[in-house]
């Protein structure tokens, strides 16, 4: 009897005797933010495995000089699909999906503001992704049928012109991304409205968990960035299919205009991909340091500042285009400036850990790994903001190393940290801690082994996106190191997947609040009931569960 009461009813119900078709049907028609969030994360993880396999094939090809494992044509498709998949079908859906799952729980709401729109957004994302991948079966390109897009994830003009990209594989890229982009717009809008309008009583803006703040800014950035991307993709679609001349230099069109449009989306996108990661880490580090977050108001201000500045740094991707000294200087200065609020966050996380009683459970391992790796990626970012330095290493493996430290060492580590932290809440069972620690260290070692040497091969002159390299240029060692890291990373990822699958049935029962945390989602059962909270909660501080556990010393009087 006692085991039954500690065990949430939902776990029993999910395993229970309903036929598979009924259960699948319930998932397909759901408008529940928690189910949609889980579907976002699961589909994102499947695409993560696909994108990872693409990356592994590329690293196998580059393991030794003058290799011929894949042809140049296939290699072009691989890096295009890898980049597109990781940004649009892994990063965005997993982050927006976790926001979907967590934000209503954290602000004490019953669901997202528009539950049907939420479901609509998820299915648009999924079918957009499937449309992109259908190109592997149905598209035609320069080299015959069944070819994926091969124009790179930012699809520079005039390579995307009909003249140079025959067939329709490029149209698959445009339409797949556009459809999933509509889904992101729907979800971004939903997040903003949910956070502004659905907060429970007492949940003022300045009492919101930092993750909710980050998701608010992310939602606004999605609205600002995806509109221009959609518009530019429409223009490209008109160019390719109606004979328009937006990006066609032969008729006076400008290829550089595409770069401006794309990066006007592309740089806010980087912050769309990293701000939720900041949010995860800002929840995990206080819990495992047993301290409140250091400098909450400053964290909020830094987030808002990043949101604004991120809209005016885009052309630092274009220093090598020849924009002239004035624009180069402006975008260089803005890029230095955005490092300030980002640096503030780093100090605040360290300040939170400083003097805390740190528990290195798996979420904390990933969170501290995130801070360390993101600092490296941030520092190489500042190096790249210097125009003369950028001219030297632009489009080299240095840049590849840089943004993988930001997006893999940063975003993906934070995602895995968040998965380990909130898995007990969503599933009701704990992940195996030993396996989790193994997967972290394998991933951490493999990640650095793969991506750190890229800085060196890049500075030695290895261009990105090249399908092979000649021997005797001093590149062999760095490339073989990069490729060997893949084995460790793959082992780490396989362990994580195995842990996620196995613990769903065999993990220890989690209970409501396994980490002794302070935000509202830990107040309800694990997994939460469909309506989230039996009674609409009321909060009096930033740490409602602290107040509950320590009624003699509530937080409110210190905030």
């Amino acid at each position: 009897m006692s085991t039954l009461t500690t065990r949430p009813a939902e776990v029993g119900a999910a395993v229970g005797g309903e036929p598979l078709a009924t259960r699948l049907h319930r998932w397909a028609v759901t408008v529940d933010h928690k189910r949609l969030g889980i579907m976002y994360v699961l589909s994102g993880l499947v695409f993560f495995l696909v994108g990872g396999i693409e990356a592994s094939i590329m690293r196998a090809q580059l393991a030794r000089p003058a290799n011929d494992l894949v042809s140049p044509e296939v290699f072009n498709q691989l890096f295009t699909m890898h980049g597109t998949t990781m940004v649009f079908l892994v990063g965005m859906p997993i982050l927006l999906g976790m926001g979907n799952y967590l934000v209503p729980l954290m602000i004490g709401a019953r669901d997202m503001a528009f539950p049907r729109l939420n479901a609509f957004g998820f299915w648009l994302f999924l079918f957009g992704g499937l449309l992109l991948y259908f190109s592997y079966i149905g598209a035609q390109g320069l080299y015959g049928t069944a070819v994926a897009p091969d124009v790179g994830w930012f699809a520079y003009a005039p390579l995307t012109d009909r003249t140079f990209s025959r067939g329709n594989s490029t149209d698959y890229w445009i339409l797949g991304i556009m459809v999933s982009g509509f889904g992101s717009i729907a979800t971004g809008l939903n997040l903003v409205v949910t956070i502004l309008s659905m907060r429970c009583r007492g949940m003022t803006l300045m009492r919101m968990p930092l993750l909710a703040w980050m998701m608010l800014i992310v939602g606004l950035l999605v609205l600002a960035a995806l509109g221009p991307l959609t518009a530019a993709q429409v223009m490209l679609l008109f160019d390719r299919n109606l004979g328009a001349h937006f990006f066609d230099p032969q008729e006076g069109g400008s290829a550089v205009l595409w770069q401006h449009f794309f990066w006007f989306f592309g740089h806010p996108e980087v912050y769309i991909l990293v701000l939720p990661a900041f949010g995860f880490v800002s929840e995990i580090i206080p819990t495992f340091s047993r301290k409140v977050i250091f400098g909450y108001p400053l964290m909020v201000a830094a987030t808002v500042a990043i949101g604004f500045i991120s809209l005016s740094v885009w052309a630092h991707h274009m220093f090598a285009v020849g924009m002239g000294p004035a624009l180069n200087a402006f975008f260089s200065a803005m890029t230095f400036m955005i490092a300030v609020p980002t640096g503030i966050k780093i100090f605040n996380w360290i300040g939170t850990m400083w003097g805390g009683r740190i528990r290195f459970a798996s979420p904390m391992l990933f969170a501290t790994g995130f801070v360390a790796m993101f600092v490296i990626g941030g520092l190489t970012g500042i190096m790249l903001a210097m125009v003369p330095f950028d001219w030297q290493v632009s489009d080299s493996y240095f840049v590849v190393g840089h943004f993988h430290y930001v997006l893999f060492g940063g975003t993906v580590f934070a995602i895995f940290g968040a998965l380990h932290y909130w898995y007990p809440k969503a599933v009701g069972r704990m992940l195996d801690e030993t396996v989790a620690k193994w997967s972290f260290w394998l991933l951490f070692a493999g990640f650095n082994l793969t991506f750190f040497p890229m800085h060196i091969s890049g500075m030695l002159g290895m261009p990105r996106r090249i399908y092979t390299f000649q021997p005797d240029r001093g590149l062999e060692l760095w490339n073989v190191l990069s490729s060997s890291g893949v084995v460790l990373q793959a082992a780490g990822v396989i362990l994580i997947v195995w842990n996620l699958l196995r613990s769903a049935r065999k993990g220890a029962v989690a209970g409501n609040d396994p980490w002794d945390a302070w935000t509202l989602e830990w107040a309800t059962t694990s997994p939460p009931p469909e309506h989230n909270f039996d009674v609409a909660p009321t909060v009096g501080s930033r740490r409602p569960l602290w107040d509950l556990k320590h009624p003699e010393d509530p937080d409110g009087r210190y905030e």
């Binding site: 309008s197 429409v234 009321t538």
Partner: protein, 206 residues
């Protein structure tokens, strides 16, 4: 656990706090996103003004006279839709349908103007989206605006029909007001499109 949420509910008594209404926030977000969408097309249009190598351009084939008339129709429809919302709030069904009907007519007149302008451009000036940069930027910018006007007209027409069949009352005022926000947005965008295409693009302002 129910006990936990119970004690949370009792934790601190608070007066009901203000939250922005869901619908209004959502519509504001949608409009914000659309501003960035249209902004991109306007930037492309302005970027390419005067960069054409061949063919008819705004200077040679756009006449500002008729478009001023159709623009006045569209801008006035912003005022009639406000009158319609006010009538609905006061439960004056006939006045609501009159003002909404007038809005539909004015918006329809604007679309008629666009159709006639495109007809002239295609038949007399042989300007198509593939002709030159002006054709590409003009048709996509004005076309996307017209598409949004048609969307707005469709929803307004739906509201009119619902009202005719008695399914719309003063309790729906906020929903109708949200549609009117969208309609205002379409009008305001037109002011920017008009300035770009018919004043800057024709060389009247340069």
């Amino acid at each position: 656990m129910a006990a936990t949420s119970d004690s949370l509910a009792a934790a601190a008594p608070h007066a009901e706090e203000w939250r922005p209404a869901r619908g209004r926030t959502g519509m504001a977000c949608l409009i914000g996103m659309e501003c960035f969408f249209f902004g991109t097309f306007i930037v492309a249009f302005l970027f390419y003004v005067g960069k054409d190598t061949t063919g008819p351009t705004g200077k040679t084939c756009l006449s500002i006279g008729p478009v001023v008339v159709w623009s006045i129709c569209l801008i006035s429809s912003s005022f009639t839709v406000v009158a319609a919302v006010k009538a609905l709030a006061k439960a004056r069904k006939a006045a609501f349908e009159f003002w909404l009907g007038l809005t539909l007519l004015l918006g329809g007149a604007f679309i008629y103007g666009t159709v006639m302008e495109w007809r002239g451009l295609m038949l007399e000036h042989e300007l198509f989206i593939s002709t030159n940069l002006f054709g590409s930027t003009y048709y996509s910018l004005v076309g996307f605006h017209a598409f949004h006007v048609v969307l707005g007209l469709t929803v307004l027409g739906l509201l009119w029909t619902l009202s005719k069949f008695g399914h719309l009352g003063p309790e729906d005022t906020e929903r109708v007001e949200l549609v009117s926000w969208y309609w205002h947005f379409v009008d305001v965008v037109w002011i920017f499109v008009f300035t770009s295409v018919y004043l800057i693009g024709t060389g009247i302002l340069s």
